[in-house]
């Protein structure tokens, strides 16, 4: 360890789609600003459980990570889509939290599955707040992507465990998505509503934080007699059908209102699965009643509450991480040396 400790994460290299993300910025719909925030909010909750803290802002890494250095002793959690990761050259598992001592270098490579990986830190990332949140909303021109040379401030860490893991279900390879009827579902012919449930869809390469295109097998979708309806509210998860007949599932940075008809809405509990579906993944949609959707929401929230109880020790060979045993496994990260600026 060299130099003075600064509570910051130093960025030596970052992929093109690395941004700081939190739970987003609700409350500005009337002004045309959508909530934004992490594409996979479950990944933020998983990181919070691993680090034993409240939900905090993290680095969201689309496609590829980067090379990062700890400006002081940090605890980190790696969640969301699994990516190849190493600390000072030694591979470390994903869906886990680790110690990242001051000066240690964390290398995060390409995705192994899914679409968005998350790097969280004990104390959270605390860059400048914009309209009550720190998340970048690039579509709206709020904030910017993370770049080499950035030093991202880290909040005070009250301390907690490292070398823990959190077993997670696979949500990184597409699969079944539950939908409820949307504002304009009934404008679509019965045949198309039925086909939404039977057709297989492929997640297209065209995707960003606004949403993902899903290409149906067979005939395109569309509403007879024109596609334009009066602009109405967009809800994340809305499946919008534009001119080319391929549905687009709108996500975190969607516009607030839109004039294209929407076929259905993916329920919030399944948004992490659609956000994490990689290009080429197969997706299926199935209607559920509002009653079933609300039961799914209750179950989803219960599972979030249960996350801390599912954290378990990361059993590993001590030789893998020589520093580990010399490191404080529990607590002790908020000592005096962190108050030096």
């Amino acid at each position: 360890m060299t130099g003075t400790a600064h509570r910051e994460l130093i960025v030596h290299r970052a992929g093109p789609a690395v941004t700081v993300q939190d739970g987003g910025r609700p409350g500005w719909i009337a002004y045309g600003l959508s909530r934004g925030g992490a594409m996979d909010r479950l990944a933020l909750a998983e990181a919070a459980a691993l680090l034993g803290q409240g939900e905090s802002a993290a680095l969201e890494m689309g496609g590829i990570g980067g090379r990062f250095e700890a400006g002081c002793d940090l605890r980190i959690a790696l969640t969301g889509a699994p990516m190849r990761a190493s600390i000072d050259g030694a591979p470390v598992p994903w869906h886990a939290c680790h110690a990242l001592p001051q000066g240690a270098v964390l290398e995060i490579g390409p995705l192994q599955a899914g679409a968005y990986g998350y790097l969280s830190v004990g104390g959270g990332l605390v860059p400048e707040e914009l309209l009550g949140a720190v998340s970048a909303h690039l579509t709206a021109g709020l904030g910017r992507a993370v770049e080499a040379g950035d030093r991202i401030p880290v909040g005070e860490d009250r301390g907690g465990a490292v070398a823990r893991k959190l077993p997670v279900e696979d949500r990184f390879s597409g699969g079944a998505l539950r939908v409820v009827e949307s504002l304009q579902t009934r404008l679509f012919p019965e045949e198309q509503r039925a086909r939404l449930e039977t057709a297989r869809f492929t997640r297209d390469a065209r995707a960003n934080r606004m949403g993902v295109k899903v290409v149906p097998e067979g005939a395109p979708f569309g509403v007879e007699g024109g596609l334009s309806v009066v602009s109405e509210i967009i809800t994340p998860g809305d499946i919008q059908v534009t001119g080319d007949g391929a549905p687009f599932v709108l996500l975190a940075e969607c516009q607030t209102t839109g004039g294209y008809p929407r076929l259905a809405t993916v329920i919030p509990a399944d948004l992490p699965r659609i956000a994490q579906a990689p290009a080429g993944a197969e997706l299926r949609f199935g209607f559920v009643s509002m009653e079933e959707a609300l039961a799914a929401e209750a179950a989803y929230r219960a599972s979030l509450k249960d996350l801390p109880r599912r954290v378990e020790p990361l059993v590993r060979h001590p030789g893998d991480v020589p520093d580990l045993l010399g490191y404080k496994l529990v607590s002790g990260f908020s000592n005096g040396e962190h108050h030096d600026h």
């Binding site: 609700p26 409350g27 500005w28 719909i29 009337a30 002004y31 045309g32 600003l33 914009l130 309209l131 709206a140 021109g141 709020l142 409820v180 009827e181 949307s182 504002l183 304009q184 579902t185 009934r186 404008l187 309806v229 009066v230 602009s231 109405e232 509210i233 809800t235 994340p236 998860g237 809305d238 516009q255 607030t256 209102t257 809405t265 329920i267 919030p268 009643s289 509002m290 009653e291 959707a293 609300l294 929401e297 209750a298 929230r301």
Partner: protein, 259 residues
Amino acid sequence: MPVAAARDCANVRRMTDTYSYPLLRTAGIDGMLVSFGDRLGEAANRAALAFRAALERESWDGVEEISSSLVSAYLRFDPLALSHATLEARLRGLIASRDWLRAELPHGRRLHRIPTVYGGSLAPQLGEAAQAAGMSEAEAVASLSAARVRVTALGFAPGQPYLGELPEAWNIPRQQALTPRVPQGALVLAIRQFVIFSVTAPTGWRHVGQTAAPLFRLGAERPFLLAPGDEVEFPQVSEEVFAKMCDDPEGGATWEALP
């Protein structure tokens, strides 16, 4: 949720087919939308604004966000804290409490004056738009700079307003081809509406004026200049005056409270 409520939701949807307004629909699992028409009109927009203001006064527990768009008021809520059945009953009660198409506009609105250069190199499509409206350029400027329009909705980009309605002569269509780029602050026109572009963007609307007022300012007490329901006038200024306004943080814009 009780089965009866689920059946009610189905009833709500069937109304969509018959276009009976006001129309109550769910938006996702945590939103409800009350619409006052299926196309933009002054009365439907006024009803949406008035209904939104009424929702704000009610401030029901479990409601997390309220907004309005062109013809609808939207309410986002926690469906596990406030049941669909309860909220739907309250909304139906509020809908039935009066004729919203005859409601007055809510209080607390502002009248903004945003100085504008019409035509010339800063707004090259004034002539084209005037021709489409059957006016000379001078008549067009007189008409547009005297018009008082309402912020019917904000969207597409943060703080970007839709403003209407202009006099009937301005019911001109969007152009066939997109203009690849209009600059930030461009005042564009189509179908009796203005839009001010808050970012540089392509558009099918005609660029008739140029403004300098920032629509979105971080750190300001009110970060967005315009709110739904506000009224706006676009008085004409010369290019010389406009050049000076560009150095003004307000871009020359002024406002007063409406009664």
